[in-house]
Assembly symmetry: C2
Homo-oligomer: 144 residues x 2
DNA sequence: ACCCAAAAAGTTACAATGTTGCACGTGCAA
DNA sequence: TTGCACGTGCAACATTGTAACTTTTTGGGT
């Protein structure tokens, strides 16, 4: 058993999830992605014939276990990214901004850029925050 | 012709859009909404029998004309809100945070709360920013 | 190594949201 | 008032996601 498979297996068991081919596959795809992926994008990277319903259920259980988080997008699809190492089912530390490239459409997790706080009007209580930037990414900058 | 109809007509013509019953209706619904609405929510508030396809096309042309803007959401549906008065087709001044209530699901435009700036890594150039908070709104706070 | 209960996967069917292509009707300006 | 581009309505369809139900797999206990 290669080391990467071992690592995936450990991550699953640490979050109380059973070892299955689909779960290992989905986790591998998301862990290896440099940016957030939609359900259909993940499906394309999985072995042909992987069941779509099972994929969505896998994403749901991963999200509930704190293994991945949703990344908001200005379009109409939900995208997912692997959580950083310190996430758990109890608390997501998804405190970084996201950046969507308008050229290549990739959504990056800028882990090193924290979401700044805001002061809300009286009687609004926030429990989570999302900050999405759109523009041109590193890879798509015009040469110069 | 009542004053409100006159105002709607003026807004449409200022953005180079024709006067039609559907457009006036959609604009009236969005202008009167205290929070962002999805396509189907708008449809429900329009006269029965209004064509769904026409509605989506209307929303698209409104967005392109700068009359309304998309409000990002952590769910999988796109929501729209009327732009503030100073928006145009060329530039949106949608520089306020949005707040989604996890109890009543409403999305508020907090016009008085500006989006704070962040410093991006080298070679990332942002042109737009979205900041979405989730929590419990004014109306849904437990009494006390 | 085997059994079993629970969990996950697979199948079918369905719902919601949104789009495309085309024919027809209407707002608006000449 | 007439032309016609633009908007509408319709049918069909694509994509994304879910519900109910059955079959298979996983992992713990024996």
């Amino acid at each position: 058993m290669p080391a990467s498979t071992d690592r995936l297996a450990r991550t699953l068991s640490q979050h109380g999830l059973r070892q299955t081919p689909v779960r290992r596959g989905v986790l591998e795809v998301l862990a290896g992605a440099a940016f957030a992926l939609s359900g259909s994008e993940i499906e394309q990277q999985l072995p042909a014939g992987t069941d779509r319903i099972t994929l969505y259920r896998t994403l749901k259980s991963f999200e509930e276990s704190g293994l991945i988080h949703r990344v908001i997008d200005s379009s109409d699809v939900v995208r997912y990214a692997a959580c950083s190492i310190e996430c758990s089912a109890e608390a997501h530390f998804d405190n970084h901004v996201h950046f969507k490239c308008t050229t290549c459409q990739h959504i990056y997790c800028l882990n090193q850029v924290a979401i700044p706080a805001v002061t809300l009007p009286a009687q609004f209580q926030a429990v989570s925050r999302d900050y999405l930037l759109a523009g041109v990414c590193r890879e798509c900058q015009p040469a110069g």
